[in-house]
Symmetry: C2
Subunit: 173 residues, 2 copies
């Protein structure tokens, strides 16, 4: 399954959210997501542009593989997602196989929906506010950028939160 997604930095989550609701969107839920990224035992994921991520959302845990980005303007990637029944056992298996923890990334995420768009408004302490918009299925990046413009959002951030956190800490060149 391809995940077609754009991300952009925003100044104010309430302002963007108000605009989405005006356009007929609906608020769905707010969650705290904790992600731990891992590096591969013999591939440098920072170079191959892949990722393995363990995510906790309330009492649910997901293990996700993300392949390299397939274009330069969006964050579209091949993605395989697995719901698992234990954070601790997932961690133990990854460690036993030689995967190493890179860094935890914690965010507050508000989910909204408007027509075919899944919208996420994210706040990360020390990093600021972001919007992510996702479409499943057909590959139509233009529709995503048109939608962002309608919201008054400019630009596109193709770096992952992990990369942004590492850059801010001076750990990524």
């Amino acid at each position: 399954m391809l995940e077609i997604e754009v991300k952009a930095r925003i100044d104010s989550i309430p302002a963007v959210e108000a605009r989405i609701l005006e356009l007929g969107g609906e608020f769905r839920k707010e969650v705290i997501e904790v992600d731990v990224y891992y590096n591969h035992p013999n591939r440098d994921f920072a170079e191959t542009d892949e990722a393995i991520r363990l995510r906790r959302v309330e009492d649910m845990v997901f293990l996700t593989y993300k392949g390299p980005k397939i274009d330069r303007h969006t964050k579209t990637r091949e993605e395989f997602n697995l719901k698992v029944d234990s954070w601790d056992n997932s961690t133990s298996i990854l460690r036993a196989l030689g995967f190493t923890e890179v860094m935890p990334v914690k965010k507050r995420r508000r989910y909204l929906r408007l027509e075919e768009f899944e919208i996420m408004l994210d706040y990360l302490e020390g990093l600021g506010s972001f919007i992510e918009v996702e479409m499943k299925g057909d590959y139509k990046p233009d529709a995503l950028f048109d939608f962002l413009r309608e919201l008054g959002v400019e630009g596109s951030e193709t770096r992952s939160y992990l990369e942004l956190v590492l850059e801010k800490q001076g750990k990524l060149k």
Copy 2:
């Protein structure tokens, strides 16, 4: 969690099962289990004596890591077990990470229980019949061997089904 387990070859599943029921054991269920073992992208699990296994039992899927055996007489290992929600996505993640499929192993498994013993009576086509007895918790291999003797079962098979299948096919030296 340590898994303390012995395995032995038996001539007849019905005869051993009758003896277990005589001793007060109870039959719990019969299932078909399909296991696919994987090798690590840069470690030879046949040498390190580890295993990663994807198991399907009816509509459930489990991803399991097994560490090296920690004694020579039983099959005791460190084991981490994860219930996952998709066989296909598990396969895709393992392949994307560079794990390679070794071989599927299919068996008919009858579960019985007697006091602290979890008993499995396995039939594998082309390989024959086996009993596995497991205890969770305290490390008491003697209790396991005493119990096997009570059932009239001799000997211990420390090789995995995967190893036995590969040996039979002449793929393991």
